[in-house]
Subunit: 219 residues, 2 copies
């Protein structure tokens, strides 16, 4: 059982009582509120590859259109490559200090060879995908971006649950980083994610979220 203050977890927007929602919901809510983007990691703390494997395998339960699983993960362990990427990402401190640096890569053309993912009727699905995406590369890219962002969200959430902090990054020269990683024209970076233990002297406050009334519309 997780340790949390039930009243603190109830937002001002919602007046639902704790009896009406499950303990499972409040556990997840706690995890979502706990996660935040961390800029300062403890460079002395490493992360076992097997832990990262468990986090990534869990995150791969994310949904994707036609179950295409558009994501690739590049786990950048080389110190040389991390230094190069740091220079291409405004020298943000987390790039070199975090225990793990991941590039989440979109396989924009995965639909072209998707028949193997299908458990049945692969040829029919392939024809459907051809009709859908064949002359619409922007639509295929949007789909890859959606899928990879959902996957990325679960990577960060699974890491948080495993005791690691995370930071998603899009402020970087993705084209140059893609070259550094050897990506081809069918691949593009969705985001970078750093994972690790938080530096003990990090005192940046968590940023607030807008109330429901500013983003929810009922029609």
């Amino acid at each position: 059982m997780l340790d949390f203050d039930i009243n603190k977890n109830l937002t001002a927007d919602s007046c639902i009582s704790k009896q009406e929602l499950s303990a499972q919901f409040f556990q997840l809510q706690h995890l979502l509120q706990q996660r935040r983007a961390i800029k300062y990691f403890d460079a002395a703390q490493a992360m076992d590859d097997r832990e990262l494997d468990a986090i990534l395998a869990s995150a791969s339960q994310a949904p994707s259109a036609f179950n295409l699983q558009h994501w690739q993960v590049v786990h950048i362990k080389s110190a040389q490559r991390r230094a190069e990427i740091s220079a291409l990402a405004y020298h943000q401190p987390q790039i070199q200090q975090a225990a793990a640096l991941l590039a989440i890569v979109m396989k924009k053309n995965v639909w072209q060879t998707a028949a193997h993912i299908a458990q049945a009727g692969g040829e029919k699905i392939q024809m459907h995908l051809q009709r859908l995406y064949g002359d619409k590369p922007q639509l295929a890219r949007d789909e890859a971006m959606r899928s990879c962002a959902m996957f990325s969200m679960l990577v960060m959430l699974a890491a948080e649950a495993a005791g690691y902090r995370s930071c998603p990054m899009s402020g970087a020269d993705f084209t140059a980083i893609g070259k550094c990683l050897g990506l081809d024209a069918t691949q593009e970076i969705c985001m970078l994610i750093t994972l690790g233990r938080e530096a003990s002297d990090n005192t940046i406050a968590r940023q607030q979220r807008l109330p429901l009334s500013q983003f929810l519309y009922r029609i």
Copy 2:
């Protein structure tokens, strides 16, 4: 405590022992494995608006670049509008049968009026955002897509934790649905999500995920 088989939750990819990861991780892993896209909902089961509010407030803990919170949610309650949207989404059964139908909308230009989100130094941030996105609408749209997809992932996960099933949808005429919802040129649909209780006679098997060896690269 959740009821799950610890061995079943360990993927073949990962040989990490249960002692090395926390109960919190396995609880989340269970939730991620339990979530799946549901096409057939029980149309007789409603969802309380306050439950949906709690789910959306939790999901809004998602990260976004500069904390811009690019998402808007349109909760489409009107039967007339749901029928119109169904016709624009290949009459997928979940559109009309699910307890709730949501359009997750990207606010592509939210960076233009973002100073109010900043807790300090709003004017300086506004100038930075202008330099970053001012002449790059595609970059601003990518950012909105990433943020809204991460938010959408958390909507589905929070719903699952609250006992509801979900279905993300991108196979629809988003331009026409946007018109139906009265969106303007600065807004675009990221995805539709249906939420509700699963129909008891749904027997479609969960789709499998690729093993780590097919999407993870260490360099």
